[in-house]
Symmetry: D2
Subunit: 407 residues, 4 copies
């Protein structure tokens, strides 16, 4: 579908995410939920198998083009969500009036949208996890290779004591491992939503012998977890993913900031990941670092939006708080996926100028060793590499954790 | 263009905004900036008039379709912004190599994107101002009509002293007037951006006799204000718009919350603006109020994002902070436009059940008059309409301000 | 200490938190860290035991009064953090120059402040967990008692299908259990910080045979976890706590919103937790619900601040991002503690008007049963209690989880 | 009062603000409001002049000490705001029962708290405006002095085209002037709040001949603006101040970021504003720049909180949204005041290393002039000072605006 390659002009890199998080993907996920539910109805004796097959086939077949998506988007305002128009469209696609009439039977809009967003989140997080794994592999390599590459430590912008680039990379590695772990956990916990009009499965219970078994069956068909209770107004499954996403950009933002900083011409200790300028063709801007930094400045507020929406729930479906969650949640997923991919590419192209690091460390030895020797008392030619504390052991600890993790 | 009708499935109502704020609109605005600049170059003797005409014609002609926009979006990652690819595309469209070579000459990407976003913001704010005017007219009518319609005042959820629905509407009116005033001011102040690579007009000054006059000419052609200095890293023009936008949803959010609350079946003092349900066809949900409330829960964080981006600027173009501004700024514009239109429609369809208000006020007289008479000392049949303080005068004051404003 | 009873006039309920999170508590925690480190130095042979004893005794003894805290706060600006002045004050209190000289030896300011905030967070989370347990007990009781208490379900402000108050309480219960679980996990993971000037333990490694064992010993003395690596610029331990805190207010906010809503005079299905008014002495405002709601509107932004600070780290200690974390982190802890305590008190005093619920459900049967019977087709006298779906089983599932949890 | 010197250990520099924004200042402001209102009652014939004098004297006299403030803070939870307990305390201080009984008569808590916060905001903004004026003076001096000091322009971390430090300072100057202008406007517009229980002046209208004249009189006595209507649920006066505050830190944040960046040892083009380290006594950290940067990372979220509270208002006094405004509003005022003072001190101590700037610009001429000459085509010894575009004119424009402003 043309739409799937879209992205947005103001979100550089978003083309990486759109096939998984765009409107077409969302529609496909919603259709998948409706089709799976029909199969559950059929398995429970509440629909004929051939009707379920008709719906499944229609749900597989119907992929609205750009204009079709636009029509659905426009209709979403009439009912406040995109599901009502989607169900109408699916019924039309099904054709057979008896099968069509059963589509969505027993569900509520929120069941479909929440479950579909769980599917979208799952696919996005899978990609995030894979890109973080690539980052981790590269960072482990850098930590290993530069375990003993001395460089100036910097605190509050000024030279502090010596560190190694290996330790810097090891710290990044641990951050990426933690973020990947949280992303995987959030992904595994993603549940189906299935509660009917007000979370009691009222209508489903009229036609199905065991509605809770039906929920489990739906979850099974979609590859999602089956929750103890519906979570229409208890948004932990969504906030957990949001926390995991911002955890990813929290981990990657400092990497990008450091890459950007150490790539400054006055520092010159790193380079790579560069892109061009519209007016100065010679310039090599650290574009990927810039974009990852930009993502890290945005994700905290997107996650806050998701939490805020969660915190203002009321009734059995809130009058605005649920709606305030959607756009930010999806954009957070897309931004995180994009940032992880960009970080992976950035690290792939990263060049470490160990010689520059060494020269600077030696020339700054007076400052780097002042903690040990006293300000002004550092001997000429003193070696910053002799004052690295436990830097090497810390690198080893990080690498050991990495090895355990991939074993 | 197909794209212009798009909207997003997760932003119900966004189809109202997309023609003004979508990628196609943004591309058209960027092309307009490039064409206007070529005319400025020609007027200043730095380009041939026929070359400017070729560029103007190409800029008018070239409207990338959905796939074309997607290609531009994908290329944006290479350079970190969408301008470089746009310039390449425009040059191709121009054809003539001499004319093409001059496109963008003396500008930097940020000049084009910032100016284009000023154009987009102007168009969006014009629509916002118009919808707020419609809201104000309706609210003035409600305030006038219900100047003396007594209803229960409510504080901290409990009945307080009596008020009138006219005063409630008058308060909404003043909020809308203030918001409209701020939106108009922000719109009037929207400036062109034109500083070249680092805000000194370095290249333009090589070919133009009076670069600052050229900036003024560019502003004139685009109908934007001419700034004293470039504002690449001083983002007041953008934050001012963001403040105006969140001011709009701050004003409309409480209106929507009150409409939603007073439309509850247990209250029943208002109704209207309803949409349907996917499972309960009888239900009349206050969909527009819900969506406006949702917008009011989101705008504060979008505006915060714009401020955050502004506050982290550094260098002559920051390494991520500028980029972190774009998507939230545009979505804030779109969301505000949508919310203003939805609020206008909501108010248009609003029905005031004055009789219910009156019945409740009388039946709650024991609480509504307790401030005056003492708890438990309110006489049976006491009239809440006799304890309205200066409610009527306050309505008159709001209406007088409204009348002055439209005179 | 006088300070410990303070709170803030603009944070009603903050007096509940101040003894654990106020400046006096923070100073005590920082002194505890310094004393514990001296003991570690002594155990490692880098200080005399009697010097460690002198420092321990001074750290136990010195509790700056209000003016003393103010003096420390004023001095914090000189160095950008409160530790340098604290160390000076502690050295003075120690008296003995040899012992005093060794105070803080091998640590950096961030080691002390981060570790102290871990101690503060631990104590605050312990209180949060206890109050959530009280909430859960009360909610389990309500869910059990009202398992079959029929009430109107409400979605998007309008009557939907019937639910039970037991199910409402069960949903709250699950939210509280999840929040409590996350709070406990975050509390258990709270680590000590100990890395020296730039995270290499440079100075400690000069005087201690096994610096990493020293970190573990420090952690053991303080009852905190020992991290694999220092986390000066990798703020997961802090963001994890922030996520847990906002998870608590996410869970409690909807409870408070529902209590406030159902306590409205027009609804009247709940009451309790009331406070007075300055002008209308008869009014019973649901003050505790109001304050918990207020907290739920604030916590998402406080947590976002903590994430934002984390995401902008750079160097081995960032130039502002670390500092931007402190105040919001502490206020988030205090606000969460306060909200949990207020929620517990609110639920304790909650009165459920089951009769009102029943009357309303029956009188609204035409709407509540329209999903089943069709709009307009509900028979007179139809019983909403006959259309509860699996509400009872869901209550049982929540209670079973509660029972397992406390077993 | 001891309390006034407090500040907070986690808000370095907050001691600068506490005398104006702390609890003691707030109590004094609330007492001032109550006393002024008594005078209004007396002038309107609703109270005896001697009673007003007794209240005025008590309000002048009563300054709760730290323990007294703590007691008030604790009581604030009972009623959800600090006013009820304050009124009780003031009545006690008044002594005379007839005078005491009239205290607060006709007001509601929100009248007192909102008006008091207007007074607090006014005093804080006065200080902000003064500090910004000092910043502007210093920046004008720097712009003038360094009008022709060539330095490397930097975009996206890389060298771009040459600029001057004068232009950098001129851009900062314009930002500060804009911020100061907005702060002054917000300060001038600060209104009194006076509407009684539900914004109708219900009780005041029973005892005063012209309640609206009384509001104007109250405003006059307090030196605040008189609003057309009460603004209990229309929070523009508060959000306008919040916008002005974040405008200040938006302007100062980039200054601090640039100072921190250019003070890095690898750059060395600026220095000053330094503070010490707890472990490396030789280090000179740019502490003031760090703290201003920290403030700029926090203010956007505090302002968002104020907007969010405004946007969620409902009823005649909302059930949590109003309360969610207070703490963030006050902290935003304090943080802005502190940041403005710190920025002024930072700029005062700033040292410009023009020689280093020049050396770097010349050595980087190959990059700085590549836009003009082509990459690789810059002649050896080429002068970056010959490619400054209109930098000088832009400095002059900024200075002209500054001169006009102070004339």
């Amino acid at each position: 579908v043309a739409d799937d390659s879209a992205g947005s002009l103001l979100d550089p890199g978003s083309h990486r995410a759109v096939a998984l998080t765009g409107d077409a993907a969302l529609v496909a996920a919603m259709l998948r939920v409706e089709a799976a539910w029909m199969r559950v109805l059929a398995d429970g004796g509440a629909a004929k198998p051939e009707h379920a097959a008709l719906v499944a086939s229609a749900a597989d077949r119907w992929r609205p083009d750009h204009a079709g998506l636009a029509r659905l988007a426009g209709l979403a305002e009439d009912t406040g969500n995109p599901v009502v128009a989607l169900v109408a469209g699916l019924r039309e696609e099904v054709g057979d009036p008896d099968a069509a009439a059963l589509v969505h039977s027993g569900l509520t809009s929120q069941d479909v949208l929440d479950s579909a967003l769980s599917l979208v989140a799952r696919d996005a997080l899978d990609r995030v996890v894979a890109d973080l794994a690539a980052c981790a592999e590269r960072l482990a390599g850098l930590a290993r290779e530069h375990r003993d590459t001395v460089m100036a430590g910097r605190t509050l912008t000024q030279h502090a004591v010596p560190v190694t680039f290996g330790l810097v990379a090891a710290q990044w590695l641990v951050g990426v491992l933690d973020a990947g772990h949280a992303a995987r956990s959030a992904r595994e916990a993603l549940p189906v939503q299935c509660g009917g009009a007000a979370g009691t499965l009222s209508l489903a219970a009229e036609v199905l012998p065991d509605p809770l078994a039906a929920v489990r069956a739906l979850a099974g068909q979609l590859g999602l977890a089956a929750p103890d209770l519906p979570w229409h107004t208890r948004r932990t499954p969504v906030t957990r993913v949001a926390d995991a996403c911002v955890g990813v950009t929290d981990a990657l933002g400092p990497v990008a900031a450091e890459v950007a900083l150490l790539s400054r011409p006055e520092v010159g200790e790193l380079s790579g990941g560069a892109g061009g300028s519209s007016t100065m063709p010679h310039k090599q801007n650290p574009v990927l670092a810039v974009l990852v930094r930009s993502a890290s400045l945005q994700a905290p507020l997107l996650a806050a939006q998701v939490h805020l929406a969660a915190s203002q729930a009321v009734d059995q479906r809130p009058d605005g708080a649920w709606h305030a969650e959607w756009a930010s949640y999806r954009r957070l997923l897309a931004l995180t996926l994009t940032a992880a991919a960009q970080a992976s590419a950035m690290l792939e192209g990263l060049q470490v100028h160990a010689r520059v690091m060494g020269i600077r460390a030696r020339s700054a030895a007076g400052d780097l060793l002042a903690e040990r020797d006293g300000a002004g008392a550092v001997a000429p030619g003193a070696d910053p590499g002799a004052y690295l504390g436990v830097a090497g052991s810390l690198v080893d600890a990080a690498l050991a954790r990495y090895e355990r993790g991939v074993a």
